[in-house]
């Protein structure tokens, strides 16, 4: 299983407009191209997950995630906000890079946790925050995943 197989370029946004955490979650959800009601439900679920503990894992990276009936397969998105936003991250630093993961509650292929784990592993690589900051095109994000072998 390779992370890059789950991302498509239209689900990668390198210039998020969001100014706060809620706006960032909404903007990421909008990349999945769901109907308005589903977007609303998904946003609420992500907020509720954040209320259990921030998904900001440090070094400017957050991985908002949840399971929801509004998707019928695993969906992922990536967004970057230059300058970062307050996310109540573990290290209390602003978050610049956000990976969104959403899966249906019953997922036959059982990819949700492995994908979550791979993104967490990718995020821990020493040069990743710097490399993500240098991206100019969504295709370069895909290239980075390939280069890192994830």
């Amino acid at each position: 299983m390779q992370l890059r197989d789950f991302f498509s370029q239209d689900c990668i946004k390198l210039d998020l407009e969001a100014e706060d955490k809620d706006e960032a979650l909404k903007e990421l959800v909008s990349l999945l191209d769901l109907d308005e009601k589903s977007e609303g439900i998904l946003f609420k679920m992500l907020k509720r997950r954040e209320n259990l503990g921030s998904t900001g894992i440090g070094r400017g990276i957050a991985i908002p995630h949840c399971r929801s009936l509004v998707v019928n397969r695993l969906r992922v998105a990536f967004g970057r906000k230059d300058g970062g936003i307050e996310f109540k991250a573990i290290d209390e630093q602003p978050v610049e890079n956000l990976f969104l993961i959403v899966a249906p509650p019953l997922e036959v292929s059982n990819q949700y946790l492995p994908v979550l784990g791979k993104i967490a592993q990718f995020s821990k690589e020493p040069d990743v925050p710097e490399r993500l900051a240098e991206l100019e095109e969504p295709s370069e994000f895909m290239d980075l995943l390939e280069e890192k072998g994830v």
Binding site: K37, G53, C66, L106, L116, A120
Partner: protein, 119 residues
């Protein structure tokens, strides 16, 4: 989408989250180790939220929800390709077109679970 169905979907998503945290060791481990979630506190918070949402259900929906929840792990299931993903029995074809927008609260005639139509 019917507002009561929207509420039911939110509740089912929360139930799924709770179930995963409670029963799946690998999910609990990721949440605890990577995201530093306090599992017991999280479960309590999910229970509180579920109770709050349950109180907002209309009496007839609430009564069905409680009955289905008691006997089945999932009270709300998707319909995919005309099949209820709770009991895997086909739902009446006549429902398909009108149900596509999820404007009504419907239950499976076979298993009784609430149905949510997915494209």
């Amino acid at each position: 989408m019917h507002p009561q169905l929207e509420l039911l979907l939110e509740m089912q998503d929360l139930r799924s989250q709770k179930q995963a945290l409670k029963e799946q060791a690998d999910e609990r481990e990721v949440e605890s180790d990577v995201f530093e979630v306090e599992i017991e506190e999280a479960l309590e918070e999910l229970d509180r939220k579920l109770e709050e949402l349950e109180d907002r259900l209309d009496p007839s929906v609430q009564s069905t929800y409680r009955r289905v929840s008691r006997s089945m792990d999932r009270a709300v299931v998707p319909v995919l390709n005309g099949v209820c993903y709770g009991c895997f029995i086909a739902v009446p074809r006549s429902w398909a077109s009108e149900a596509a927008e999820n404007e009504e609260v419907r239950t499976c005639e076979n298993c009784g679970r609430f149905l949510y139509y997915v494209d």
